[in-house]
């Protein structure tokens, strides 16, 4: 079975600026790939290029084994003939149609008779829990319901590839969590491949089989959620993925030395020289190791967040609520060996 999507050396340019600068990736059938990154990193542009809504400057795109864009071969298949579906950030629910008409549009647009479409529309509406809303004008729905209509429309026709452009970003926090779970369930049941664009790392971690972290039109790091979470390779990746502690260090002999002489054990140290080391607050072990001063203690729900100072370095750690750490106190700290990573660039 051919890949759901193959993208090779994709470049999308606006005037002189390259919004997408030569990226390549593929999506296996049934796989959920997330394009993650800050705004302006080219993730939405890449997605729209796959959909055919943005014309790339060069590169190759194929969908379900068929070339849909190839600069060299002169191929540019319009969006309606790429055989995919898409959920838009704004939901893009047509205000002049009711719910059933919105969901049934992919059939109508392709000239498929209404009586063939009707059962598929009913199934799709049932999947998103909107069976009783079929005749409701789309404009009278809440944001969450519109989101479900958009989802039903994307699923009704049964395409093997569904594109998602920040679909949950306009929902409130609670609804977002709920929709995230429903989305994961639906994909498991229906088995479509997905390319999912988001700037929310939690969403990416929860939904993805694989994540491409993007920066300035290029892929910064690719991997499974677990790989990205535990082993970000660059400063940018570490910072974007919420690694609070990124410190300049000198690597020597499998160890990292901070400027003030603090020594830390690191995993996979690589060649000696200047580098950055990164570790999450939860990986800091308090009460043993090198000395530091407690600068600030913030209540953070389950734990307290502790800011330590060691020379010019600030280190964020977490501690139990009952640890009794006081501002100004001296405290020893170290990082679990496996959790302290050396970053290149």
């Amino acid at each position: 079975m051919s890949d759901a999507v193959v993208v090779e050396n994709l470049v999308v340019a606006y005037g002189g600026a390259k919004a997408v600068d030569g990226i390549s990736f593929s999506v296996a059938p049934g796989e959920h790939l997330t394009l993650l990154g800050p705004s302006g990193c080219g993730k939405t542009t890449s997605l729209r290029a796959v959909a055919g809504l943005e014309r790339p400057a060069s590169g190759h795109i194929s969908v379900n084994g068929q070339a849909v864009f190839d600069e060299a071969g002169g191929i540019d298949v319009p969006p309606e003939r790429r055989g995919l579906a898409m959920v838009f950030q704004s939901y893009a629910i047509w205000p002049h149609m009711n719910v059933a008409e919105n969901v049934g549009f992919p059939f109508r647009a392709r000239g498929i008779a209404a009586d063939i479409a009707r059962p598929a529309v009913a199934v799709a509406l049932a999947m998103v829990g909107l069976t009783n809303f079929a005749d409701r004008p789309a404009t009278l729905l809440s944001g969450g319901q519109q989101q479900r209509v958009a989802l039903a429309r994307a699923l009704a026709f049964g395409t093997k590839l569904v594109l998602f452009d920040e679909p949950l970003s306009n929902l409130d926090a609670q609804l977002r969590l709920q929709m995230r779970e429903e989305l994961a369930d639906l994909r498991r049941r229906l088995g479509f491949a997905a390319i999912y664009v988001t700037h929310d790392q939690d969403e990416a971690f929860a939904l993805s089989d694989r994540i491409l972290l993007m920066r300035a039109g290029r892929i910064e790091q690719a991997g499974t959620p677990h790989e990205l979470y535990t082993a970000p390779r660059t400063k940018f990746a570490a910072a974007f993925l919420g690694v609070r502690n990124i410190l300049d260090a000198r690597i020597d002999n499998g160890r990292a030395w901070l400027d003030d002489g603090t020594m830390l054990d690191v995993a996979d140290s690589g060649p000696p020289g200047r580098a950055a080391i990164a570790f999450r607050p939860a990986s800091v072990i308090l009460g043993e190791g090198m000395p530091a001063i407690v600068e600030r203690v913030l209540f953070a729900g389950d734990v307290v967040s502790v800011l330590l100072r060691s020379g010019a370095n600030e280190i964020t750690a977490t501690a139990r609520l009952d640890s009794g750490i006081a501002v100004g106190a001296k405290i020893a700290w170290r990082v679990a060996l496996a959790d302290c990573h050396v970053l290149r660039t």
Partner: protein, 543 residues
């Protein structure tokens, strides 16, 4: 590479607009390249001066009237504001030809009804509307709604917080108005001024009725005379066209220069509820003033027209008056051209309105959604007629299609259709582009991804969502095409005559009663169309 549907559409539209707008403009330039004719025309300082006087003063008065009325109806708590504002559209629906004729009956020095009445009662005549004063008076009344609409819209799209912040920082009501609001209205006022100026520079109907007999000739009446002498002096007519074009284009460019480099961004597509100013007793005077304007622009002329169509002949002596429908019977059953003219006008109105609605949809979409050279060119070409007086456009259409055998439209109604389409194009494209910008692009993307092609997407998404605007454009263009004079008068033949030409002929022949009857019928059709639009609106089909 296979050519995309978008590219095909944009290229086809470009080709069409080249024939509709660019070729006529070029034809004027080319046929005016006759130094003798150009010299003779430029030597005619009086007519050039008259034209500039008419254009300039009408523009100033129309903007003043329109601006003051916008202030009165939008920013001041004037009694009856809602009704008055709706009525402000009326002058646009009545062809200036009819207003001018009605005013000539009311106010000509000898035989004008008002003067006859005054002569009988007080032994003196009151007014003389024959000549420059009368032309500018009637033209200012007729064109004031254009600045009114644009300035009122600008007032509505101004964030009241801009004024509030001036007040908080120490400015009084009038200081805030003078230092903040007034400057922010400047682009709208200039824009409206340029629009009125371009139209009045090529104005034919009003000076033909009120000016020529008083020796007040302007460019448009000159062009008409030059083309209707034997042999027709084409080169001189074209030279006039070129001069008008040079003046109007220079004006548009000057306006762009004037507004460049300063930000007047008060419009975010948002509409605000402007704060209303209380003026105490004065409000009654303001309302009365507005009613007075409407009376002069619409009430009195239309009443005169209706009265003239029913009375046996124009007289102020009640003893001699008799009322019946014989003039209507005459124009419908006896007059040789009126029936044909009415049929042609209705057909042209329907065709022009339909064509403009379709072009507005297609061009509006390309201009708003596509990037690149062709959409840019389309935008310029579609807006260019705003800078071309319709009489010049007609000259250009004549120059392009007379003798062009591969497009054999010369002498038929089709050449009128071409001129009308070019002339009304900006109205349609502007309105539809504005409506298009209100549509979230993802509504269109979503249709494409769902399997609709370009035309399917337009049909299922863009047309339904812009239908209110398109219907309004259709009705407006239908009404305006029905009253078009300046271009028709140069392009008609006996077989393709239209209502306004028939009315002008009746006026020249001195058949005032028949003219009044025909005018009343034209107004009836116009207001029927507008009433229909109102019904659509209530049903939610049109905005």
């Amino acid at each position: 590479m296979k050519v995309k549907a978008e590219t095909v559409l944009a290229s086809a539209l470009l080709l069409l607009l080249l024939g509709l707008v660019a070729a006529p403009a070029f034809a004027v330039l080319r046929s005016a390249w006759d130094w003798v004719a150009l010299g003779r025309v430029l030597g005619n300082v009086t007519v050039l001066g008259n034209t500039l006087l008419m254009g300039g003063l009408t523009t100033i008065f129309a903007v003043l009237i329109g601006g003051v009325l916008a202030l009165v109806l939008v920013r001041i708590r004037t009694p009856g504001r809602g009704l008055l504002e709706a009525l402000m559209l009326l002058p646009l629906y009545i062809t200036p030809l009819l207003t001018a004729i009605a005013w000539s009956w009311i106010g000509s020095p000898r035989g004008g009804l008002l003067n006859l009445l005054a002569l009988r009662l007080f032994g003196v005549t009151l007014i003389d509307l024959q000549g420059a004063g009368g032309v500018i008076f009637v033209a200012s009344l007729a064109y004031a709604p254009v600045p009114f609409l644009l300035i009122a819209q600008a007032m509505r799209s101004m964030d009241p917080a801009l004024e509030d912040s001036a007040r908080v920082h120490g400015a009084g009501t009038w200081a805030a108005f003078a230092r903040i609001t007034l400057p922010l209205m400047r682009p709208a006022a200039y824009g409206a001024g340029v629009l009125v100026f371009v139209q009045t520079m090529g104005l034919f109907s009003i000076p033909a009725v009120l000016g020529v007999t008083g020796g007040f000739n302007v460019a448009a009446t000159e062009i008409y005379r030059l083309l209707n002498t034997y042999p027709p002096r084409l080169a001189q007519a074209a030279a006039w066209g070129l001069i008008l074009l040079a003046i109007t284009v220079a004006t548009v460019l000057a306006q762009n220069r004037l507004l460049a480099g300063r930000s007047y961004v008060t419009i975010g597509g948002k509409s605000f509820r402007p704060r209303l100013v209380e003026v105490g007793r004065l409000r009654w005077a303001l309302a009365a003033g507005t009613w007075f304007y409407l009376g002069l622009a619409v009430g009195l002329p239309v009443a005169t027209l209706i009265w003239a169509s029913l009375v046996n002949f124009l007289t102020i002596d009640p003893a001699l008056m008799a009322f019946d429908l014989r003039h209507f019977a005459y124009v419908i059953f006896v007059h040789p051209a009126a029936g044909l003219a009415a049929a042609n006008s209705l057909m042209l109105g329907v065709l022009t309105a339909t064509l403009i609605a379709m072009l507005a949809l297609a061009i509006g979409w390309v201009v708003v959604r596509r990037r690149g050279t062709i959409p840019q060119l389309l935008d310029y070409l579609a807006m260019a007629p705003l800078a071309i007086p319709s009489v010049v456009l007609a000259l250009g259409v004549l120059g392009t299609y007379a003798g062009l055998d591969i497009v054999p439209i010369y002498g038929t109604s089709a050449i009128l259709l071409v001129a009308y389409a070019a002339h009304f194009l900006p109205i349609g494209v502007r309105a539809s582009a504005a409506a298009m910008r209100q549509i979230h692009p993802e509504l269109e993307d979503s249709a494409r991804v769902s399997g609709a092609g370009l035309f399917g997407m337009l049909r299922y998404v863009v047309v339904p969502l812009t239908r209110p605007t398109l219907v309004a454009v259709w009705v407006l263009v239908f009404v305006l095409a029905l009253q078009e004079v300046s271009a028709s008068i140069l392009l008609y033949t006996s077989r393709s005559t239209v209502l306004s030409v028939a009315m002008f002929d009746l006026w020249e022949a001195g058949n005032l009663s028949g003219l009044a009857a025909l005018g009343v019928m034209q107004l009836a059709v116009t207001f029927a169309a507008i009433a229909l639009l109102g019904r659509f609106r209530r049903q939610g089909i049109a905005a």
